[in-house]
């Protein structure tokens, strides 16, 4: 790749190592700031594999040209992978894995087939198997080694001789994952599941540290494919033993991914007590990526909310939202927010309206907005209507059991409102306002509410009315200190997390690797740290 022509005259290479961002822009500061403009500029000089190649979008490409480009991209990321494995540079391997997402979006069957042919020797069993799994495109001949389909729009040139030796395991698994991704995207569930099973077995038979990230991805797709065909329960044992192995090998990525897959597995079948036991017996690795941590926190929040530990659940869910990527993963954020709204309501707080108005959440959260409105007003009839109207949606989101618990909250809020507005009110009126069946019911509910500390009043049974007690000065109680403490701990948590999350590019003075210019490498290192979060594919639950 050519060095950027638009750059100012370069300083000596040594200096350029130290001041990367100064090279990219007029001296404005050394912070590794990821403004969109800077990213745009870097991408124009970057590897062709990077996302959003604006330069290339100018001229419309024929399918063949796109296919050729994609082939080249795949080839270069595989080269990157090999380099990473040889140099044991985890960063390069992670980057190659990240490119998978971009490639996935542009993948097509001919390219897939050609990739397999290019990298597996003709006699390889794995290669042959992959070729057999790739579906035949309509209107083409069967697979032939010349690889020129006649009537498909994509014309690929003749292939050079196929390689002589087996590819390194990483490359093999990488290509297998690409095939797997494509099959999943084509919705060929059964084939995908079968292939996933084989790849998992292959991965389990090897013990290479460089394979860890790829292995984690394989397990992820294995679980996904089986979930799509509804056979998730069968692999629980496998996931558990794989998790054990990952722990023994100190494989952080694998540990985190597998733990999340297991939790998802249990929660899918409503086995919350087993999920809870798993959580209590394992530790989630500290150094896992933000995405995995976000997933873990979401699952943890779900478990806690079922166990009535609402404060803990709410904390987990809030943290999950913070750790989720900024601009993508809207499905995940929708799911987390739905649950967070319900947990907040169960805690007795009303979520802010601004939450519902955010563009990406607006559609998904509309039933929850209606629900919040009903709870806020304390209107039992409206609450019942909303639950019936959106029953299907709530069931899909698996929040309907929690919503059933909300019924009491509605009554509590209603009672509290009444108590605040009336100094004295008859039981009959209360029953009417809350749409209860009888005054005795109302008496029972009010008595319980008084006992629980929801309202401060006494019932005068003879007169049949409820009399509110005098309001006490809030400042003389512990309430302000309690609220202050909550806010202080929150700020301190955010600060500590930020400090922990500050990372520095590893070994800025490591020797150059062939084909990568020095200052580009510096930018890439910094960009790695950002992109790692942005580019990883996120699947919402359910």
């Amino acid at each position: 790749p050519p060095p950027g022509a638009s750059r100012p005259s370069p300083l000596t290479p040594r200096l350029s190592l130290l001041l990367p961002s100064v090279m990219a822009q007029p001296p404005e500061g050394i912070d590794v700031d990821m403004k969109d403009k800077e990213k745009h500029e870097q991408e124009n000089q970057a590897d062709t594999v990077e996302e959003g190649d604006t330069a290339k979008k100018d001229a419309p490409k024929t399918p063949s040209e796109l296919a050729l480009l994609l082939l080249a991209d795949v080839r270069s990321s595989l080269l990157l992978l090999e380099k990473g494995v040889l140099a044991k540079e985890q960063r390069l391997i992670s980057r190659a894995v990240r490119y998978m997402n971009g490639i996935r979006r542009r993948m097509s069957i001919p390219v897939m087939r050609r990739t397999v042919e290019q990298h597996f020797p003709a006699h390889s069993t794995e290669g042959a198997h992959l070729l057999s799994v790739i579906p035949v495109e309509e209107g083409t001949m069967d697979t032939s080694t010349s690889g020129i389909p006649t009537s498909s729009p994509v014309q690929l040139p003749e292939m050079e001789n196929s390689p002589q030796s087996d590819p390194i395991p990483e490359v093999e698994i990488y290509i297998s994952i690409l095939v797997l991704m494509h099959l999943t995207d084509l919705k060929r569930k059964n084939e995908a599941a079968a292939l996933a099973k084989l790849v998992v077995q292959r991965v389990m038979s090897m013990n290479r540290r460089t394979l860890d990230t790829l292995a984690a991805k394989v397990f992820y797709f294995y679980s996904l494919c089986l979930e799509r065909i509804g056979k998730l329960a069968l692999i629980r044992g496998e996931l558990l033993s794989a998790h054990r192995t990952a722990c023994l090998r100190h494989d952080d990525v694998g540990q985190a991914t597998l733990l999340n897959l297991l939790l998802r597995n249990y929660i899918e079948y409503n086995l919350y007590d087993q999920a809870d036991k798993l959580v209590s017996k394992t530790t989630f690795p500290q150094r896992a990526t933000n995405n995995q941590t976000a997933r873990y926190l979401y699952y943890l929040g779900r478990i806690r909310s079922v166990q009535l530990d609402y404060t803990e659940a709410y904390n987990c869910l809030m943290q999950a939202i913070r750790k989720a990527p900024q601009h993508s993963a809207s499905g995940f954020k929708q799911a987390v927010n739905k649950l967070a709204v319900i947990v907040q309501l169960l805690m007795g707080e009303i979520p802010e309206r601004t939450l519902f108005v955010q563009p990406e959440l607006r559609g998904a959260l509309r039933p929850y907005l209606k629900l919040t409105q009903a709870v806020r007003v304390g209107d039992l009839v409206a609450f019942r209507a909303v639950t019936e109207e959106y029953a299907g949606a709530f069931r899909r989101d698996r929040t309907h059991t929690l919503i059933v618990r909300l019924r009491f909250n509605v009554i509590k809020t209603g009672l509290r409102k009444i108590n605040v507005s009336y100094s004295r009110i008859s039981l009959q009126d209360i029953a009417a306002k809350l749409h209860l069946d009888s005054t005795d019911d109302a008496a029972g509910i009010v008595a319980k509410a008084i006992r629980d500390g929801v309202i401060d009043a006494t019932i005068v049974h003879d007169g049949g009315f409820v009399q509110s007690k005098e309001t006490i000065d809030i400042y003389s109680t512990e309430e302000p200190q309690h609220a202050l403490h909550k806010r202080i701990t929150f700020c301190l948590d955010v600060h500590n997390e930020a400090v922990k999350a500050m990372r520095f590019p590893p070994d800025a003075h490591k020797k150059e690797l062939g084909g990568v210019t020095t200052h580009r490498k510096q930018e890439e290192v910094a960009q790695d740290l950002l992109e790692e979060e942005e580019e990883e594919d996120f699947q919402g639950p359910g």
């Binding site: 079948y269 509910i445 008595a447 019932i459 049974h461």
Partner: protein, 286 residues
């Protein structure tokens, strides 16, 4: 790994039937039942394929074991032993839940809903709300409407609403006699709950109302209940006085308002520590 011969399995089945027969005899003979159950258990130790074994399952063994556990749980109730009941239920839950491979092969148990309902009732009685809700998550909509399961659901709902007298009604019509074991005990507990609610909510109550509220029969029972409840009332600084057909609730003494010194000291120290950390980081020039 020698699988049991079908003859041995037949023998176990015979034990099971005998146990069931004795269990449902009226009046029940505890000792004979216990003996029959012991025989059955000894027979079942030979089973090779029930969990946690990983061998391919032998359906007959599963069915026998499951039925044995169900009836053992019922037997424990008849023996009035809660610990045993819990023990058998935990084992039984394994047979009811997951294990997809087995589910397709096993015929559904007839007593499943009855026992699940009983277990839910047990959890309510023991006040294990977290477990109760976790169990609830696993029930589908149809199961929730089932006769046996709707009983504990209704009870829990009434408890939440403070409608303690509704629980009294459920006590009178239980779908299975084992349920009354828990409901009668539950009644005792919630009577105390109702007392706590009442003393906070009411300044005074007519005698008639009080008797109704606490689900008692007449004045004498009320007096007896007051004596039993006396200690609990004292803990909440309450004293009950029966005066001229009216029940008065009076507070005794003021609740001491103390400054939560330890909590404040703890918190202030925490803040100081964190601030120190931040200042140190800043001064290191990060």
């Amino acid at each position: 790994t020698n699988r049991m011969s079908s003859q041995e399995i037949q023998k176990c089945d015979a034990f099971l039937q005998r146990f069931k027969g004795l269990l449902f005899q009226e009046p029940i003979n505890i000792d004979e039942c216990a003996q029959a159950f012991a025989d059955l258990q000894i027979g079942m130790t030979e089973f090779q394929t029930i969990p946690p074994s990983l061998q391919p399952p032998n359906i007959k063994e599963f069915i026998i074991k499951r039925e044995a556990l169900e009836h053992a749980a019922l037997f424990a109730i008849n023996k009035q032993s809660i610990a045993e009941f819990e023990k058998y239920m935990t084992q039984l839950k394994q047979f009811y839940s997951e294990c997809e491979a087995i589910k397709q092969l096993l015929p559904p148990s007839q007593k499943k809903n009855a026992l699940t309902g009983l277990y839910l009732l047990y959890l309510i009685y023991q006040n294990k709300t977290a477990e109760y809700h976790t169990e609830l998550e696993q029930l589908s909509m149809e199961e929730q409407r089932d006769l046996y399961i709707s009983v504990p659901l209704a009870i829990e709902q009434s408890l939440l609403d403070g409608q303690y007298n509704k629980v009294l009604n459920t006590n009178l019509n239980v779908p299975m006699k084992e349920y009354s074991f828990f409901t009668s005990r539950l009644l005792e507990t919630i009577r105390h709950e109702a007392a706590r609610c009442a003393e906070k909510a009411y300044a005074s109550l007519e005698l008639k109302e009080a008797i109704e509220l606490f689900m008692l029969k007449d004045r004498d029972e009320l007096m007896k209940f007051m004596e039993i409840d006396h200690k609990n009332a004292q803990e909440n600084n309450m004293v009950w006085m029966l005066h001229n057909d009216k029940l008065h609730f009076q507070t005794t003494g003021q609740e001491k308002l103390s400054i939560p010194a330890y909590k404040m000291i703890d918190r202030s120290l925490e803040y100081a520590l964190e601030l120190e950390k931040i200042v140190q980081q800043k001064s290191k020039g990060r």
